[in-house]
């Protein structure tokens, strides 16, 4: 079934934040994440005759994942300097300003710890812990067998847990 314009608009509206969030966790850079998310969504439009709407969510995340890996590889070739262009801080005004700032700080801390992991560890953690993806969907996006995915996820969680504790992030 070809994807018409209305379906495309609906899918983008549903998936845009997920795609952006994933790219931001993977790249830890606001501009890069924005660019990658846009690129993924535009590629969906370009490939709309081949992507079934029911599979568009996984297709988008797989595209985003691959674009993120490309970007990380290019970064490695370019420089080893840590990336610090993070998401904008929330507004400081309002009754929930303190809580919002705390949550923003938590996000930054978690993001920094994530950056110390391999891209594979980061991908499985973000997909599972932040995007709430099922094992099947993750295995599809990452091209892994289910058993291999479970092992990868367990090991990534252990490494992440250890590093969060070391960084003093765990509440």
């Amino acid at each position: 079934m070809a994807m018409d314009q209305d379906t495309f608009v609906r899918l983008v509206t549903e998936q845009k934040d997920r795609v952006h969030n994933y790219a931001l966790w993977m790249l830890h850079d606001r501009d890069d994440a924005c660019e990658i998310a846009q690129e993924s969504l535009m590629r969906l439009w370009q490939h709309r005759t081949r992507v079934h709407p029911a599979a568009a969510g996984s297709w988008l995340l797989r595209t985003t994942h691959n674009l993120c890996l490309d970007r990380l590889r290019r970064r490695q070739g370019r420089s080893n300097s840590p990336v610090a262009n993070l998401a904008a801080r929330p507004a400081e005004d309002g009754p929930d300003a303190g809580q919002a700032a705390e949550r923003h700080e938590l996000r930054e801390q978690v993001g920094r710890v994530l950056q110390t992991l391999s891209s594979r560890d980061r991908a499985v953690l973000v997909m599972r812990e932040f995007e709430g993806m099922s094992y099947d969907e993750m295995a599809d996006v990452l091209g892994l067998r289910l058993s291999a995915l479970k092992v990868a996820l367990h090991r990534a969680r252990d490494r992440f847990r250890e590093r969060l504790i070391r960084a003093g992030v765990t509440p």
Partner: protein, 188 residues
């Protein structure tokens, strides 16, 4: 059976089950085995507490929505562009046009390279030149029309050249029998 399972459970198996429990329910046997192991293993109980706290902390992390301006740019480059074609559509669109353009250039080159009458031509010669020019233009239009026979399948399977060779282009001087239909259209 459960007792056997619990007895066989070592720490790394118990921790693996605790991780799986984060993502979905365990089977009754696995759950009983894990509970039996935890009763006697403080290290794994501590691991389980950390795991739960980690999950709770991660759920607190706010999502980062795509900025509105970035979304507007996506609309600009997709639906607002009026149906930007995919790469395969682009191929289908520009390859036949490029092929037609090549045909037109060949025809024009052939006509222009032919000896041209001197400027001081007679009215009859001028009339003949005008007729030839009309003919060239008509042939060019015909070439464009014929190039449209190239199907998307030809483009995708890289068969454009083969298909072009199979299309007869009526060019006076290049073909022994000019296309009579075109001639008929030109003749008064």
């Amino acid at each position: 059976m459960t007792q056997d399972y619990a007895a066989a459970l070592v720490c790394h198996q118990a921790r693996s089950l605790m991780q799986e429990a984060l993502d979905g329910p365990l089977s009754p046997a696995e759950r009983r085995g894990l509970e039996a192991h935890l009763v006697g293993c403080e290290s794994c109980r501590s691991y389980g507490r950390e795991l739960s706290k980690l999950r709770a902390a991660l759920w607190e992390v706010p999502a980062a929505p795509l900025p509105r301006q970035a979304l507007e740019q996506v609309w600009d480059k997709t639906i607002r562009r009026g149906g930007a074609p995919g790469w395969h559509r682009q191929l289908i669109t520009w390859k036949p046009i490029a092929a037609a353009a090549v045909i037109v250039l060949v025809v024009l080159w052939h006509q222009l390279s032919a000896p041209v009458a001197p400027p001081a031509a007679s009215p009859a010669e001028l009339e003949r030149l005008a007729a030839d020019t009309r003919l060239v233009l008509q042939i060019a239009c015909e070439a464009v029309s014929l190039a449209q026979r190239i199907t998307a399948q030809d483009v995708l399977q890289d068969r454009v050249n083969a298909t072009l060779k199979g299309i007869p282009i009526p060019v006076p001087g290049l073909h022994p029998t000019p296309n009579k239909e075109i001639r008929r259209g030109l003749d008064p």
